[in-house]
């Protein structure tokens, strides 16, 4: 650079002036570039490579070819169990959660008094989150808890929810549905962004409330709904804390989420190679689901400026 400057000072000054904004731009985003490299790209590739090794934190990783993958796909019954549990959980929570968040958002968009109070109350459980909320629901669903007491009023003897093979997973799903506050607020924001003149157009055409909802509201908020479906599916596929705290994966393998099993393999047994293979498989499954979601979206998500 120094020599270049002395040989052709004017040219290099022009070059520098051209180059400078780009360098400044890259400098500003450099914190992200560092984490992208070290905490995303490197681990992403490293876990792929580790998938073909045996590594238990002692010595160095030993290359074992496709043994991990073979074991994962054909020999390990826990993988099948945990995938079944995880998919069932997705089916129990994502469609119902989406429906609930739409309904509640519409409710919170009504022009009645006291809406801020209701909005705050509905969102609050989502804020507490984590271990605290899991413990809270452990007592709600206890054998002698409020759920069973309410059921007893109408003459039903409730099961011991979290310790019952049949009911443990639905119990966790119920808990997830009662904390869908984030999705609800996203859809509420979308509802408030629907242009009023579209409703007026339906009114002029003599359309009823139902027509407004079906022809205006739903298409307009469909991108927000779609976004929620994508994000909650990805999130739910990775569930961990609830099973870890509330059921420890049990009874048996009734609530053995894939995330919990992976955690056990990696940080319970320290089988880093096999756990990496498991991690890559869940990545590919989630990727597949996301692509599938995008494909299906063509049929129901409406984007302004299309058609």
């Amino acid at each position: 650079m120094q020599t270049a400057m002395t040989i052709a000072p004017r040219l290099s000054r022009i070059r520098w002036a051209k180059l400078r904004p780009h360098l400044v731009g890259w400098a500003f985003i450099s914190p992200w570039l560092v984490s992208f490299g070290f905490l995303m790209v490197y681990p992403f590739i490293a876990s792929f490579v580790l998938s073909f090794t045996r590594y238990q934190l002692i010595g160095s990783p030993e290359f074992i070819g496709f043994q991990n993958i073979q074991r994962m796909l054909f020999e390990d019954p826990r993988v099948r169990d945990s995938l079944r549990v995880t998919f069932t959980y997705v089916l129990l929570t994502v469609p119902a959660g989406t429906a609930i968040s739409i309904l509640v958002a519409i409710l919170l968009n009504q022009k009645v008094r006291g809406i801020p109070f209701f909005r705050t109350s509905f969102y609050m459980p989502s804020v507490i989150g984590g271990v605290g909320l899991a413990l809270l629901w452990t007592t709600i669903l206890a054998k002698n808890g409020p759920v069973n007491t309410s059921l007893a009023w109408i003459g039903i003897e409730g099961p011991n929810w979290l310790f019952d093979t049949t009911w443990a997973l639905p119990s966790l799903a119920l808990k997830a549905l009662a904390t869908a506050g984030g999705a609800m607020l996203i859809i509420l924001a979308a509802l408030q962004g629907v242009p009023q003149h579209l409703y007026e157009a339906v009114e002029l055409d003599g359309g009823a409330e139902w027509a407004k909802f079906w022809h205006v509201t739903l298409p307009q908020i469909s991108p927000a709904i779609f976004y929620n479906v994508i994000v909650t599916t990805i999130g739910v596929m990775q569930s961990f804390v609830d099973a870890f705290i509330m059921t420890d994966g049990g009874p048996g393998t009734a609530t053995l989420f894939y995330g919990l099993y992976l955690y056990r393999v990696a940080f319970g047994f320290f089988r880093m190679g096999y756990a990496s293979a498991l991690a890559w498989m869940i990545f590919l499954i989630i990727l597949g689901l996301t692509i599938l979601n995008f494909r299906i979206a063509r049929y129901w998500v409406y984007y302004e400026g299309e058609e």
């Binding site: 876990s47 209701f118 609050m124 994000v231 870890f244 869940i282």
Partner: protein, 291 residues
Amino acid sequence: MSALTYSWSKSRTTQRRLRDLLAYLLLAVGLVWFIFPLVWVVLSSLKTFQDFNQIPARLLPSELYLGNYPRAWNSVPFGIFFLNTTIIVALCVVGELVSASLVGFGFSRLKFWGRNFLFMILLSTMMLPFWVTIIPRFLLYKEIGWTGTWLPLIVPSYFANPVYVFLMRQFFMTLPSELDDAAKIDGCNELGTFWRILLPLTKPALATIAIFAFINVWTDFVKQVIYLSQESKYTVAIGLAFLRWQIAQGDPVPGLLMAATVFTSLPMIAVFFIGQKYMVRGIALTGRTGT
């Protein structure tokens, strides 16, 4: 006003009233659905051991029993855990604010090679599952001797979380570009424009990030449980899980657990009430929650 329009407007009012009534009815159902668990935990934390053993379960405690609170506080060293968590959270919030505003500024106000491409990559990393990167990250931290310390929890927050970068970028985009031009004419370079002109205008976005980061770090159990191994370094979330295992192993005091749940959730509730306005705005701006 003729009789016809009068009766018409009257039926319209009745219809409106019915609608409001239905709305309130459904809102009340929602209130029970979302809030009852929280009410239950507070009431349960005030129950004596005998209250818990009654069948059917009682809603209200037989007396206002406060004994669960000191017992829960002392059963695991919550004082230390609160201090630890406060330090971790404070350092993380600072890191997230600094890095997200710098990177968000870069992606929104500056033009450079590869900007749009890199931003698309940034957006797509938000969808990358946590589990696929955690093992090599753990091994990396282990290699440099960071496992067992708070560093793996704190240091990454200084290197820009994509979610907060996105939020900052969206906010920067709402500010008029004339500001940058004026600053340039006045002789500001990019850093000056960022620091003196634009950053003071982004306070609402910064507040939103601070709140989301606070809540996320406070409740981020998975990473804490993976990286921390010594009790002296534990966080509130781990302390709570700790208490749960103790109780699961035979010490039957649900009231204790409920009391601990209440006092460990209080910081979140407080932050939520202070910052709710900013959270809602952040969600409206980005179309996503900050988690």
